[in-house]
Symmetry: C2
Subunit: 366 residues, 2 copies
């Protein structure tokens, strides 16, 4: 331990390490500068939803997702509320259902209720993925079911593809619209062995994000039938998302999409490799044990102070950042690990040695 180890935060230690197991590097202004470097600056801005850049990218994403139309949004929070609002208006029932740990439940300030007067039914157990039985058990009439694939808050777990098909069939029979929260859709294509379009074919509307695995600045796409997307544009306007120029997000989304879309299989394999190394350490388990995408959660069965100290020391001794933060669970702690471009740069021998050290460190700590 060197002298500054007590004042150094875990975030500092992570930032100062030469190598990092997660991410694509810092979210700084170079992310934008790099994306705009090759761009011809005399190209016109999009103009309130019209213009070459936005229309071309919307069509490209509609094609990738196998839907007739797509609309670019500044955020998924906006895109998903709007999809659910449209289905509620069409079905005449202001109620939808989703997993208890859905983004809409945890991270949107109760927007669906406050802005759209839509009630939500939380289905199934928060600690596992949604199953057909959960959907069958819904007692209330609902307009739409939102499925999040993968389920981020439980480590990015997935139901089997057959389960998703069964849910989709059931919803179709019952006249329930099915919406995909596909913030991390591209990241699950290797595990399912399906294209994005094959997965999306089970859903009426689909949202994808450009700052998760793709690593862009911000931005989202909502895709579906043309008439639904026409309505979504009106609601985007009402939400204040129909900006005079969305090109900062569109240009960067397209740039990083093209740079990383071919790497999802690699990230998935690396996630499995790293999870196995971490899971093998004493007092550590990963969730899921074997990842099904580029992400997983890491639970450490030690108080947060003990784990912080160990991971700071690891970062300094082995020059590898494992995480920048830990969530305190009162006696144990956890963090989320998302594989990006940085993992491939970590020297494998050094990582193995660091893991051996961590295993012993955590085993010997009472």
């Amino acid at each position: 331990m060197d002298d500054n180890s007590n004042t150094l935060t875990l975030a500092d230690a992570f930032a100062q390490a030469t190598f990092r197991v997660s991410g694509n590097g810092p979210r700084n202004l170079n992310v934008l500068k790099e994306a705009f470097e090759p761009i011809d600056g005399t190209t016109s801005s999009d103009h309130y939803g019209h213009g070459e850049w936005i229309e071309q990218f919307q069509q490209q994403m509609a094609d990738v997702l196998g839907k007739p139309a797509a609309v670019f949004f500044p955020s998924g929070t906006m895109a998903q509320q709007i999809a659910l609002r449209i289905w509620c208006d069409r079905n005449g029932i202001k109620r939808v259902a989703y997993h208890p740990l859905s983004h809409l439940e945890l991270h949107e300030q109760n927007a669906l209720k406050e802005l759209h007067q839509i009630e939500s039914v939380l289905i199934g157990d928060k600690d596992r993925v949604t199953q057909l039985e959960d959907v069958r058990s819904i007692k209330e009439d609902i307009s739409c079911l939102l499925l999040e694939l993968p389920q981020r808050e439980i480590g990015g777990q997935l139901p089997s593809f057959e389960q998703v098909e069964a849910i989709a069939n059931y919803c179709r029979e019952q006249g329930i619209r099915l919406h995909l929260d596909g913030a991390r859709l591209f990241e699950i294509t290797p595990y399912y062995g399906k294209t994005a379009a094959e997965i999306c074919s089970l859903f009426d509307t689909v949202y994808i994000s450009f700052y998760k695995g793709i690593g862009g600045i911000a931005g989202a796409i909502l895709a579906g039938e043309a008439d639904v997307m026409q309505e979504a544009k009106v609601w985007k306007h009402r939400h204040g998302g129909n900006l005079i120029g969305l090109y900062p997000y569109i240009v960067s989304s397209k740039y990083y999409y093209e740079q990383r879309i071919g790497k999802m299989g690699e990230y998935y394999e690396q996630a499995k490799q790293l999870a196995a190394l971490l899971h093998a350490c004493s007092h550590i388990h990963t969730l899921p044990e074997v990842p099904v995408s580029n992400m997983f959660h890491v639970h450490i069965d030690h108080p947060v102070e003990v784990a912080t100290q160990a991971l700071k020391e690891l970062a300094q001794q082995y020059d590898i950042g494992i995480t920048s933060y830990l969530v305190d669970h009162n006696g144990s702690c956890s963090f989320e690990c998302t594989i990006g471009d940085k993992y491939a740069l970590v020297p494998q021998q050094q990582l193995q040695e660091a893991m051996t050290w961590l295993d012993q460190k955590l085993a010997s700590t009472v």
Copy 2:
């Protein structure tokens, strides 16, 4: 007339002219590239409303507007609905009042009603600015009055500052909150001979835009008391505007703010000069006759085809673009003129000659 004049559109002729009386140049991707050129790319992105760039700029704008706090928004459509929602919630009356040609009435897809269930009372005559008498005549209880200064859809006209003070006093007495649609606030400071903060002191909340006179890419500020801005942040989140990174708009807003804030007096003088030249042409009048900001409307008492042909010929013969479009009023037509950086580059002798030609052209056309 040269050969291509029949296929050439007015927009083409405007774009091809070396000189233009309006605007700051094309809205293309160089607007972003120029703003980011001097920026240190290793600076961190803002993160869901936090971070150096967004917090510093919000404080800077709060100071400029003389308010305790300010929140950066992707759009004015979002910022203004939220201000009105907060005042309605606090006063317990879901009704607001504004001019019949307000942006909320014309350009927001009825969002206030559809998203926030707020009714609007349209006050006064659409062809003139709001007066104290219009406000006194409101029969319904309202939570908030929105004043747009200048009133864009009628050429950017303004009530006297004394009228605005009288309205503000009346609202305060009646417990009605006063919100400023200040999309073009900086542009009216020279005419009123007041600072932005002096004007804003009459209002409870204030919205300003960064892509009108300032010429940025997009973005808005809402300013007011700290507790109101705290609530505005929650609503911004619900609207889907609390992006993980808003820096593309913040960096560019700050860059163009600093570049153009000192030029508002110059734009105002140039607007008066150009309006006088145009108003002197036969069959043309400007609204207002003498501008009170950098903008005014130009009405041509000829069918749109005749005016289009004349302005295309003028652009080609004198190399000066007057407008890129005309609005057809069935026998007459009009366009909006907004002075920016481009006006100062127009050779005055050439402009005078072009105006003399236009006067004769329109006089001789039946």
